[in-house]
Amino acid sequence: MALTFDADESDLKLFLQEADEQIELLQNESIRLEKEYQDQALVQNIFRAAHTLKGSSGMIGHHRMTDLTHAMESVFDMIRKNMLVPTTEIVDTILASLDGLNVLREEVATKEESDVDLSGSIAALHAIVEGASTAPAAPKAAAEAPEDLSPEALKQAAAEAGSPTSLLNKRWLEDADKDYLLAKIEGEGQRAYLVQAELVPDSPWLAVRAFQILTDLGSVGDVYKSWPSKTEVEEEKVTPHMDLVVVSKEDPARLTQAVSTIEDVASATVEAYAVADLRPPAPPASAPEPPPAPSPTDLVPATSQAPAAAGKRLIDLGPDGRGKNPSQLLELAAQKMEKLAQNVRVDVERLDKLMNLVGELVVARSRLQQVGSLLEAELGAHDSVDILAEASQEMGRITDDLQEEVTRIRMQPIENVFNKFPRLIRTLSQQLGKKIDLVLEGKETELDRSVIEKIEDPLIHLLRNAADHGIESIEARRAAGKPETGLIKLSAWHEEGHIIIAVQDDGAGMDPEKLRSSAVRKGLITQEVADRMDDRTAVELIFAAGFSTAAQTTDISGRGVGMDIVRANIEKLGGSVVPESAIGRGTRFMVKLPLTLAIIRALLVNVGGQQFAIPMTTVDETNRFDPADIRTVKGREAIQLRGKILPLVSLREIFNLPPLLLPGPSLDDLDAVSMGTMGGSANGSVDADAAGIWAANGEAPPPARMMFVVVVRVSDRQMGLEVDSFVGETEIVIKPLSRALGEIRGIAGVTILGDGQVAIICDVPSLLTRMVQEQMLA
């Protein structure tokens, strides 16, 4: 069913942007509640996000979202006021509600009503609130107005037995805040006010007006605290309603005037705090003690509340704000706001387009340099040639800078992916009946969004694998003398123009012996191969197609995707994955990825009169070989490189290209290599075909020549690719092969070279995989 909202298209877009931020925050932070609920800043953030969503969904008339976020807000509010401890069940309910919230968010994007039923979630949330309210520890007042009362206020309300609760308790002041305000009132003779301002909701300048309120109140007093805070106002996270705690010598009317004269302010109320409002109540004999004992699952040392409160005493301007007086703070806020105005949101598509254009520019630059070298070769030293060289060098420098800048704009912290994993691990540990902690490191590490998009699935699989196969059951861990709670560490860091992501567990590790025998049993390798296989290679067996060490395939990691697919997907990105394992101590997968996929360096080679690009990330070295040195190992061609035997495959053969037409450099001593030798050493069908064509043409076979070999490597597998000649190294922009052609094995995509010709990009990982598979079965 189609949905309509009380807002136009641009408002909805704005709503979605804002909602996405809040939902993301809720998703990332709610998971932490279970263990870190005593972190006031955390709880406050979560509460605020739900509150903001409630407000903005109300504004566009998305009632289902308003209802849901209202219910969530109530729960967060109870937690915030230490009246509720988020148990595993409560966090489950919150997470389930978040799933519903996501569906509702989609409704706004698609304008189609979904059939999601939220009554269950909302009822569950209400039940949590009511359960907490009726608990003996919490006073009855909480049930009536669970949103607006602080524990202090409740204590007071209880102590004063029925005295009306002042509006002043609407905003929860911490003890430290009260101390500060009391000091101002009693020590300096100032007065403390709660100012509430209501802005016209559809004002296009909400953030500006909020800022004006802050500034104007700052001129008649000292804005001690505000909701939204100054930082939030600077970040344009504003609502039409604003609360401020102001310390001033002026009388209330002066403050009212200051606020109400600001444009778009619909109403303003100013109320003074009485000393009694701020003085801590005498410890009652049977004081309600809201925070119950921490749940047994709470493994994190409880953080003390006092330091957190002290840290929040100053107006929230971040670390820059410490130790500044109010006017300095305002100046700072103004600066921040100015800075904010200079930021723009950019459509990702435009960035992609820009990156593509920069890519073309990089290619054109290479072309220009080539032309320069050509001219130099032709004309020798010439003024014009020098000028061209200078100009092309200058352009090269600028292009490099431009490329770097654009690449940097597209960079995103890997946090965007990492943040989804705590929930995954939480769910997995519940399903598996294990205890698992996930530690995230290097969340701020940045990489191109093209890589970020594609790395999530492989990482999910590695994490599932670690939780399922890596971490042992609680009993097994106990028996092994390990802590019951297993640890999975996900870390990311930059290294030599790459990003490394490590997935490490402290589980049982992989036993090479078991892997070998399992592979033999499954017919993946022969016993003979297994006997020769070293432990390192044996661990690599998990990447073989159709391999799984678990006694039974669980629905956790046995979802039809094997580790072979994981490796294939990582390698498709130009990356590699290397496992390391120690029995009893755990396993670590090191995933190495390029920072960007948009522009890569590639080696251009000539095969069959056509140019091919081989990504440099896979190229170990280029080398020439005498055809006489080709060996045959088990019926396959191989070359010896520094004592290592590498399989040799001809690209011409792989791609079924016409035989070599241009004569290459011949050997110094042609007589030394007769056709017989060549025919004897090379067993490829191409040579036979080639000989046939030469015979048909009535031409003499070309002289034996050096063979050009590109040694490629992916992860730790190597092989030699025979090509006709090397062309050179260049930067290329990867373009997908036409959809009409589908996926063609051995082709990673196409690129446009400097001269406008299209070159095929070799998919080295898939070539290697094919070679390894053939070898294993040999």
Partner: protein, 153 residues
Amino acid sequence: MAVQLADANSQQVVVFDLSNETYALDVAYVQGIRRIEPLTPVPGAPYYIDGVMNLRNEVIPVVDLRKRFGLPLKTTSERSRIIVVQLSDETVGAIVDAVSEVITVSPDSIEPASRVVTALDAEYIRGIAKVDGRLVAILNPDRLLEAYGVDGA
């Protein structure tokens, strides 16, 4: 400049020759007509794809229509052209023997393909138009690439 407005239902088609027959494509699908240029063969592609070409920094596949439709093969000549066709989700080039003209056909001069015999399978054809006593087969552009029947790659 006089603009000849065709009646709302009539369509303009690009007429071209292929193996001694006359075919046409709706101009709405035609992005341009180019001379034959060197293509980059794609190893492993379907046999009727002659290769890919660079069209203003986009890489598009080029179909040899003779191969695609199982017509007798012939090397390209001076008159051969690549018609650049815009399909719903991608652009392709189609090699034809020659492009002759753009004409307007009215809907009532178009008959369903099944009632006329051509060298092509009726699946590839949207309809047959009678123009000046000639029969022109209007191709179904979506069939240029899609594998049909058993002749897919």
